[in-house]
Structures are given as C-alpha cells and as structure tokens.
C-alpha cells in the first residue's frame, strides 16, 4: 500500500468529517497549520493503525513528534520498514 496516499486520504476524510478546512498537504506544511486539531490527529492515527497496521507514536516511547506533514509521512514510512 502507498503509505503517503493512505495518509493523504485519511487527512482529507477526517477534515471532511470534522468540518475542518484542510491546507494543501505539502512537505513543509506544519501539522498545526494543516487545519486539523488534536482530536482530528487522534482520529487519523487511530484509522491509520487500522489501515496500515502500525502506530509509530505508541511503538517508541522516545520518538520525537513529527512537526511537518513530510515528517509525519516519514514517521509512518520508517515504522513500516
């Protein structure tokens, strides 16, 4: 599965459900400027755990939080490899 495509799809889906305006998902976009709030991110992470079978946030207690959208995608890509 294309991890990035799945992440983009979930961002869009959750933004739609939660009535949020999603910013264009560029590499450099700061996650907190994406239009999604904490609850949205929580839902995205829960759904990605179902669809990708991995939750990199919970796997490593010392992992640094991703700050940009690019970081977020790499966070999942590295967790899968």
């Amino acid at each position: 599965m294309d991890i990035k495509a799945e992440i983009v799809a979930q961002f869009k889906q959750v933004a739609k459900e939660q009535d949020k305006r999603l910013a264009p998902l560029t590499e450099e976009l700061a996650l907190l400027d994406s239009g999604l709030d904490s609850l949205c991110f929580a839902i995205v992470v829960a759904r990605l755990e179902t669809s990708l079978g991995v939750d990199p946030f919970s796997e490593d207690e010392d992992a640094r939080f991703p700050v940009t959208f690019g970081d977020f995608v790499r966070f999942y890509e590295n967790a899968k490899s």
């Binding site: 459900e17 939660q18 700061a30 996650l31 907190l32 400027d33 904490s38 609850l39 991110f41 929580a42 839902i43 992470v45 829960a46 759904r47 179902t50 939750d55 946030f57 919970s58 490593d60 207690e61 010392d62 992992a63 640094r64 939080f65 991703p66 700050v67």
Partner: protein, 469 residues
C-alpha cells in the same frame, strides 16, 4: 458557610507583595498585580455604582477571555456569596440550568452569545477591556468566605456543580519566598478548570507573574507569547503537551519547570517533554475537581511510588475497590442542586473513580471505574453517547468504550448491534448514518471515532452491559 474575615485572593496577593513588578498577561490585555488589586474590570451599569453592589450575590462568571475572568475573580472573591466559573467550552445552552442550580443573581460576561442567551438571570454586567482604577476603598475586614463553583461533566450531559472555597482550592502549603517574584507561571489549561485555577491561585498567592492563554488562540501563538514573556513554569495535560510538541513553536519557550496533570501520564510523553526541554524539571500531579490536589511525582517515571500514599499527613489517601480515595481539606465539599449526587462517603473520603494497580512497589493508573473516557482532558460518559446512538432507528443496542490513543490519551469508540432488518441491508450505510446522527447531537470529542458493527454485546448477570473485559 460564610466565615467572617477570611483570606481572599486580593488580600493574599497583597500579602505576597511585589505587586508592581509582577504582571498578569492575557492575549490582548496586561496589568500589574497592583493595578488588579486596586482596579475594576466591571463595566457597572449604573454610573457611580461599584463592586459593593454585588456584596452577598451569587454570580455566574461566563467570560471567554481568561484575563477578564482573572481580574473579576480578584475583584469579587470576598464580596460575592458565590462565584460560578463557567468555562468557554461549555455550551451557552447550559447557562439557564447552571444559573438556576447556583441561584445566580448576576451574570458577568464579555460576549453577546452569553449575554443574549435565555439564561434567566435578572442582571447582566459586561467586562471592560482592561482594569481601571477605582475610587472606592475596600475594607478587607468585611470580606466573606465566597463559594467557588467549578463545573464538571455529568452522565446526563448537564454539568455538575462542585463547591469549593478559596481555602480548599489553595490549601496551606503555599508560601511566598523571595524567588517567587522572578517566576513567570503559565498554563495551557483554562483557569475555569481545576488545573488552570490551581495555577492562577498559585501565582496570586505566592506572588508570581502569570501568562494566560485564550480559548481561540492557536497553540503556536500562545507558545510564542509565553516565550516572549519569559515563562519559567508551565503546566498542562499530556494532550496539551503532545500538541505543543507538534508545533515548531515548541522551541519558543525555555521553561525551568514543567508540570502535567489531568490525564494519565505515560512514559512516552514524560520522555518526549524531557527531550525537548532538557533544562527543565518535569513533574506530574494527581488532582481532580472533586478530590483536590493529591500528590506530586518528580522522579521522571509514570505512575507513583506506593509510599506517596503515606507521605502527606494532611492528605489521606487509600485504595478501596481498586480506586483511589482521598480525604483532605482540599476536596470539594458537595455538589449544588436538589438531586445532586453524593460527593463524599460517610468517612469524608472522595472516591476519585480512578482505578489503579500495584506493580513492583509502584502504582499505575489504569482508567476509570465508571468507564469515563478522557479525550484530551475532556471527560466523556459512555452512557451519554450510548443514549444518543440508541435513539437511531437502526440500532438495537450499543456499548461505548475507550480506545487508547497516543495524541489524546483515548478516543471514543462504539460497538453497535443493529436491528435484524438493518443488518441485512449492510453495515456501511448504518455506520455513516449513526456517525452523522451523533455529530448533530454531541460535542466533537464525544462522537465515536470508530463504529464497529457487532453481532451481539455481552450482558452480565446483573442484566447490565459488561463494560470491562
């Protein structure tokens, strides 16, 4: 109880000293503590009238802005019979219920939505933008012991009103020392919640500066503002901190002391905060609106050492039926209202409802006995969500539970059994329909993130849903 001549926020702040050098900083207003204790934030409707008009009244304080709430609290404590702290995230639809339960005489607010809501309160006073000096001289010996009312979430969706006093909120352990004046506290919490109020009172009573957030302020802006004001000490829930660490502005603050409370603190967030702020001491505190402050843990590990239960003679703690019980002068005294639930047991212990288990000499929080779900600091009662889901025509029964989440601590998920007819016609449509239904009737954090259609739900011998595996 209206004890005569008790300490007030104002008298304690004056006693703490350094009034001219320490400040209260809001998003669009700033004042020294000298200006706060000698000024007024109230835009009194009658020319020449002053805060004395409010003596002995029950006041519902419903501002959006925290600076104005803080200024009003300093002004009204010791004058009002009762002050209800109405948080900006509680819908204005509940104003009428809260006003009636608290027998409110006066509404103080800074926004039209509250002022124009059908609250049923006879008198409305607006807040000014900032404090202005008052002519009236105030006699502290006339102070009465004001009841402070904090709202907590109830199973029916209506808030519960917990009664505190300044004495129960502040305790006796706080003291001023010469270093206090150089400290700048801040918090991600709103001060209309216990965790935020605790920090406001700490700043007022020990003599520090304070930077307060605003409900509509982006986290990056708040962090930048806190950094610009030289914040040294800052508190928040684990969810507040997770959100802060996702911001490039996390590096704008350089705190010496970080405190977490309000949710279960896991090892990951302790480690992540320490990695971001290696210079800071990181502690976590157990406290709740009803039980008050329990204890503070500063060894950098999740959970707490068993000996902490015995460590403070002023705060008695015990474990009964696997939940933490607390008896101290810091607990709330009761809930307001005719049919209010009982807050303390016969021995004056408050059941926190937080379940804990002992592993290798250390206690760990495992959740809530009543199944209450804590979504990023917001409590969700499963029964309230189930009641909404069960009203959907295709639903036979439902079970709402927590799913662990690394961003908000937990999320709401629902297992739903459909009526036979509905389940024959496919689950996807039912899922979408139920979600849509929930979104119309519940706050965002209460809407299930996931709905699982299941064939059956386990029923216990009592005939009730089995809530815990």
């Amino acid at each position: 109880m209206q004890r005569a001549n008790p300490a007030t926020v104002r008298s304690s702040a004056i006693a703490a000293g350094s009034l001219s050098s320490r400040v209260l900083v809001g998003v669009d207003a700033k004042a020294t503590w000298a200006e706060l204790v000698h000024g007024s934030i109230l835009d009194m409707p009658l020319h020449g009238s002053d805060v004395e008009e409010l003596r002995g009244k029950s006041i519902l304080l419903a501002t959006i802005d925290q600076f104005r709430a803080a200024a009003a609290l300093i002004e009204l404590d010791g004058i009002a019979r009762r002050i209800v702290l109405y948080p900006p995230d509680v819908p204005v639809e509940h104003l009428a219920y809260v006003a009636k339960t608290a027998e409110a005489d006066v509404l103080i607010t800074d926004h039209d939505a509250a002022a124009d809501a059908p609250h049923g309160i006879g008198s409305v006073i607006r807040c000014a933008h900032n404090v202005s000096p008052t002519e009236s001289s105030r006699e502290e010996q006339d102070a009465i012991e004001t009841e402070w009312i904090l709202l907590t979430s109830g199973t029916t969706g209506l808030p519960k009103l917990a009664v505190h006093t300044l004495a129960s909120l502040a305790g006796s352990a706080w003291h001023t020392d010469p270093a206090s004046a150089s400290l700048v506290w801040s918090t991600f919490y709103d001060m209309r919640r216990y965790g935020g109020l605790h920090i406001f009172l700490h700043a007022a009573l020990t003599g520090t500066s304070l930077v307060v957030s605003h409900a509509q302020e982006p986290v990056a802006d708040f962090l930048a503002r806190a950094g610009a004001n030289g914040v040294t000490n800052i508190s928040g829930t684990p969810s507040h901190w997770r959100r802060a660490l996702m911001s490039p502005a996390a590096s704008r603050i350089e705190p010496e002391y970080i405190r977490m409370s309000g949710e279960i603190v896991d090892q990951a967030i302790l480690n992540q905060v320490r990695a971001q702020y290696p210079q800071a001491r990181v502690a976590h505190t157990f406290a709740s609106t009803e039980a008050g402050v329990g204890f503070n843990v500063d060894d950098g590990l999740m959970g707490f050492p068993a000996e902490i239960l015995e460590s403070n003679p002023l705060i008695e703690m015990k474990i009964k039926d696997s939940t933490l019980r607390i008896r101290s002068t810091r607990t709330a005294t009761r809930y307001l209202g005719d049919a209010a639930p009982v807050l303390k047991d016969a021995d004056d212990f408050v059941d926190t409802g937080d379940t804990i288990e002992l592993r290798n000499g250390r206690y760990y929080f495992t959740g809530r006995r009543d199944g209450t779900i804590n979504v990023g600091g917001y409590k969700v009662h499963p029964e309230e969500v189930e009641a909404v889901i069960n009203r959907h025509p295709v639903v036979a029964m439902s079970l709402v539970k927590a799913k662990k989440n690394p961003i908000t601590g937990a999320l709401v998920v629902a297992d739903v059994v459909l009526h036979a007819q509905a389940s024959a016609s496919g689950g996807d449509e039912a899922q979408r329909g139920i979600l849509e239904f929930c979104r119309k009737q519940l706050d965002h954090h209460k809407v299930p993130a996931v709905i699982n259609i299941v064939a059956a739900l386990p029923i216990g011998e009592s005939g009730k849903l089995v809530r815990r595996a």
